[in-house]
Symmetry: C2
Subunit: 222 residues, 2 copies
């Protein structure tokens, strides 16, 4: 939850809370457990909320139409612009009752591989919570720019690339790899490769240094 930017945890009738095992597992997120609200019913938990979505892997009768996790996350994020919204999960063993699902305005499912029995197989509670929190974050927050690659240098300029290509062609002739009268598709292919590789300025120097060394060897053999 915390890693995905969520902070409000409400526990309905926990068997034990606070729980030393929960504290031990909440590495770096103990504030979230400290601030968790403990209530005695789902009704109490949902008091004051605007919209709640129940997560369930089971088919539900007489409930509102379901959505897949991704669409449900989008809907929740929109509703969160107007008021508090809730994601409702059942416990690991028995899940949510039909009455609990009925208290929610929506139910949602995470797509899974069909199991050997009937419908889809179902995720552990922790895994389902992770997927939904991730989908909420993806729906709510622009992930932003990825970390800059510190080693990444400036792109090679047009002149850099043309210089390298000429050098490569010369070295290919000197080495005897390329017949000047029958160059075939060598240069167009190298040009294509360099374009795809988005070569950096500094790499041009390295490659030209290598080519120069090759040329010297080739001339000595000559």
């Amino acid at each position: 939850m915390k890693t995905m930017g969520l902070s409000q945890l409400v526990l309905v009738n926990p068997r034990q809370f606070p729980d030393p095992q929960a504290d031990a597992m909440a590495s770096g997120a103990s504030d979230l457990l400290l601030n968790a609200r403990v209530v005695s019913s789902l009704t109490e938990a949902l008091n004051g909320t605007l919209f709640a979505t129940a997560l369930t892997a089971r088919r539900r009768e007489l409930a509102v139409e379901p959505l897949w996790a991704r669409e449900a996350a989008g809907e929740l994020v929109v509703a969160a612009g107007t008021g508090d919204v809730a994601l409702v999960f059942g416990n690991e063993t028995s899940g949510l009752s039909n009455d609990e699902v009925a208290l929610c305005r929506r139910w949602a499912s995470i797509p899974t591989q069909p199991g050997p029995q009937s419908g889809g197989s179902s995720l552990n509670l922790a895994q389902a919570v992770q997927v939904m929190c991730y989908e909420l974050r993806m729906a709510a927050v622009d992930p932003g720019t990825l970390p800059q690659i510190a080693g990444a240098g400036d792109l090679a300029s047009h002149d850099d690339i043309e210089g390298l290509l000429s050098h490569l062609e010369r070295a290919a002739f000197v080495s005897g790899y390329l017949d000047p009268d029958q160059p075939k598709r060598f240069m167009p292919r190298m040009r294509r490769l360099l374009a795809r590789a988005r070569v950096e300025h500094e790499e041009i120097s390295i490659l030209r240094g290598l080519l120069t060394a090759f040329e010297k060897c080739a001339k000595k053999i000559d």
Copy 2:
């Protein structure tokens, strides 16, 4: 992994394997552990693959450009059309080394809430694996139609709705709630509400039964 439809697990230098704890936790997925391939290096694990993506939360120098999890999953699924692809995860404590990341053609990150220290906070291994397997499934497999709501009946017809609206107007007059000379916006609002509610055929009968009961009471009071 199995819930998301993945089956090929390769373990590099596991501390202990087979492991009774792993067996105990793999409820319903013991076949996946039974068929896991154990190798002694990442190089060996990647032999024969076409494309590998490393998952890491840390900034990497001198590596290829990173992608966010969702785009990375799309790229992997496209590559999987041509050959075997791999998702590479480090272990829980130390993650992947730079050398290991360098063996992969791509590295990817899962967007997270920025932590109190520097960059993003990072997920547990199991949670990161869950998110990536989910994203792969979403990129590869149409989730299909959601479970049919068994309790869902036929939509009310146009005639049903118009009948209910007339009945509602009549009952509103009889009850004294609505002044026939000043009906204001009552009917347009009710029409809008019914449209949004996508009322079902069977619900029309229930609502009209209720209205009839109201009308009877109103007439008695009259």
